[in-house]
């Protein structure tokens, strides 16, 4: 009886308990299992053989001891079986989570691609915008009143793009716990759509502003007035740095010739 306990102790001293999660994290995919019955049988055989050879105990005593050990091993076996069942459940749960992860990964891939194409679209639109802004002739004074809406629109556009980006980033972030049924691509499409609308409006505005002449220039004058009637200053008594700049007679003569068609 004591020897059986000793065997149990020896077994547990020479073995370790590890959960399946731990084993997995160690990179183990498989473990060798041995059934407790086999251990019991091996022990029983070993005990029989040893006792037979020693001639210390009579047969009855031996059988009784063996039976007792058998009972003991049976109870251990039940324990082990219960443990095994529990680990199977854990394993199944793990597999299910792995499946979810794969699905999430592929969705993340989709999202990344969608983001890239949205980005490309943005860039395209931006460069078109740049071209559009370069259209007015450099010498003709551009219409001042039209300036305000187009610069506002530009600001709005930039804001919009920033929002779009922020939204996409947010959509990507909580991949560990996705809201069930959350359709990110739809959200991206919606955002891209509103961006396109914005750009169309902007294009129209700029087109219109380029066509309409600026008869009434906006008065920025107040920006230059400090509020006080006249600023106190010593500037009237101070001479600024002067440089001689040659003459412009030759330049004017040439220009006049050009203008006169000569």
């Amino acid at each position: 009886m004591e020897s059986v306990n000793e065997i149990k102790e020896a077994l547990s001293a020479r073995s370790r308990t590890a959960t399946l999660d731990e084993l997995r994290s160690e990179g183990r995919k498989r473990v060798r299992l041995i059934r407790a019955e086999h251990v019991a049988q091996m022990i029983s055989e070993a005990v029989h053989a040893a006792i037979e050879h020693s001639g210390l105990l009579d047969q009855e005593e031996v059988d009784r001891l063996v039976e007792k050990s058998r009972q003991e091993f049976k109870s251990i076996l039940r324990e082990r079986e219960q443990e095994l069942a529990r680990s199977r459940e854990t394993e199944e749960a793990l597999e299910a989570r792995e499946g979810e992860l794969t699905e999430l990964k592929s969705r993340f891939g989709e999202l990344t691609r969608a983001l890239a194409s949205t980005r490309a679209e943005l860039q395209q639109v931006q460069s078109e915008l740049e071209v559009a802004r370069e259209l007015p002739a450099p010498v003709a004074p551009p219409p001042a009143p039209a300036a305000a809406p187009s610069s506002d629109m530009l600001m709005a556009l930039v804001q919009e793009m920033a929002n779009l980006k922020a939204n996409l980033m947010q959509a990507q972030a909580p991949q560990a716990a996705p809201a069930p049924g959350a359709d990110f691509s739809a959200a991206i499409e919606k955002l891209a759509g509103s961006l396109n609308d914005r750009l169309e409006t902007l294009g129209k505005k700029m087109g219109v502003s380029a066509a309409v002449g600026g008869d009434a220039p906006t008065d920025f004058g107040s920006l230059f007035d400090a509020g006080e009637s006249k600023l106190e200053s010593n500037m009237d008594n101070i001479q600024v740095k002067q440089k001689a700049g040659g003459g412009i007679a030759a330049n004017l003569a040439r220009l006049k010739k050009l203008k006169g068609g000569g």
Binding site: F224, N237, V240, L252
Partner: protein, 347 residues
């Protein structure tokens, strides 16, 4: 001497004034410059740095500044030192100057510096000789690399100059370089202005611009990058750059850094002209080689034109080019070009 005759007749048109009409104003990130005609038939350019520094206001300081011939304005209870002196004082106080403009345009976070800018402009332009006299001022072309609002900037200065009694007209900065430097070429060629905040380019055919653009790189960009690699303040980088070095022959690690960024700036501008010219529509085909005129404070460094020619030789430029030169008055060429435009507008 037909040229002289024509110039004289231009003067005669100035009714009861002895000086021909029209003024030119270079509104630059680093310098404000006004070109005016003088009674000897030549021109004078008044220059002031576009920078400020506020210091605590008291009677002693005001007296002192006036004695030292340092211009100031009192604004919001502070003594605001103006122009070149602001730089010197900033060094003494270990501070940075305030700059109302950045990258060629009024800077949105220096709006309350506008009244000071108005005072400088008023000072350098002087009173109009007749009400509504023409004043051409330069504006940068739309930028390739930053999102700038030229229209707002232009509207602002149209208002300001109008308030001073002039008829304000905007002209592209590099176009002004063409007016100033390419008369002998019938105003056909490429004008380049390398300023503090930007570099501007304009290609013209018989004075008509067919391509113009700007990049937000200039002297400030060089200063910033040199300061970065050397780990020193920007003002130090500016000082190294302006102390008369030759970028063909850098004498120290610091000068080396300046030379590297100069080369990079020149190459950047040239490759942009090339690619813009190649992708542009309705470009004139130049059969004869055209000249390239460079101006602006940044072009004043020793070896500029030589390095420019070296970089030019490296890229396969799409149009035949003859002479590449720097304006004899690099710092005032833009103002002079504005004046030419204004004077011809008056005749």
């Amino acid at each position: 001497m037909t040229e002289q005759d024509q110039f004289d007749s231009n003067i005669d048109q100035g009714a009861d004034t002895t000086v021909a009409l029209g003024k030119g104003l270079d509104v630059g990130t680093a310098n404000l410059a006004a070109a005016v005609q003088n009674d000897e038939g030549g021109i004078t350019v008044n220059v002031e740095r576009n920078a400020f520094l506020d210091i605590p206001s008291d009677a002693y300081s005001k007296n002192m500044l006036t004695k030292l011939k340092v211009p100031y304005v009192v604004h919001n209870g502070k003594l605001v030192v103006i122009g070149e002196a602001a730089f010197e004082l900033a060094n003494v106080f270990g501070r940075e100057t305030r700059r109302p403009m950045a990258d060629g345009l009024v800077s949105p976070n220096e709006q309350d510096a506008l009244p000071m800018m108005k005072m400088i402009i008023q000072k350098i332009l002087g009173e109009p000789q007749v009400p509504g006299e023409n004043c051409y001022f330069c504006v940068p072309a739309p930028s390739l690399d930053v999102d700038n609002n030229v229209v707002y900037h232009q509207g602002l200065f149209e208002s300001l100059i109008g308030k001073l009694g002039y008829t304000a007209r905007a002209i592209n900065e590099a176009h002004a370089v063409v007016f100033s430097e390419l008369a002998d070429n019938d105003f056909t060629g490429i004008g380049l202005s390398f300023g503090g905040g930007m570099a501007n380019a304009c290609i013209t055919y018989k004075s008509i611009p067919c391509l113009s653009f700007s990049v937000a790189r200039g002297g400030d960009w060089i200063d910033k990058n040199v300061a970065n690699v050397l780990g020193c303040p920007r003002s130090k980088a500016t000082a190294i750059k302006e102390r008369g070095i030759d970028i063909r022959d850098p004498k120290s690690r610091e000068e080396e850094a300046v030379a590297i960024y100069y080369r990079s700036l020149i190459n950047y501008v040239l490759s942009n002209i090339k690619s813009r010219f190649e992708s542009g529509q309705n470009m004139p085909s130049f059969k004869e080689p055209i000249d390239i005129a460079c101006a602006g404070g940044t072009s004043m460094i020793g070896g500029f034109i030589e390095v420019f020619r070296e970089e030019f030789a490296k890229i396969d430029f799409p149009i035949p080019v003859g002479r590449i030169f720097r304006s004899e008055e690099a710092l005032t060429a833009v103002a002079k070009g504005c004046l030419v435009a204004a004077a011809i507008g008056e005749s």
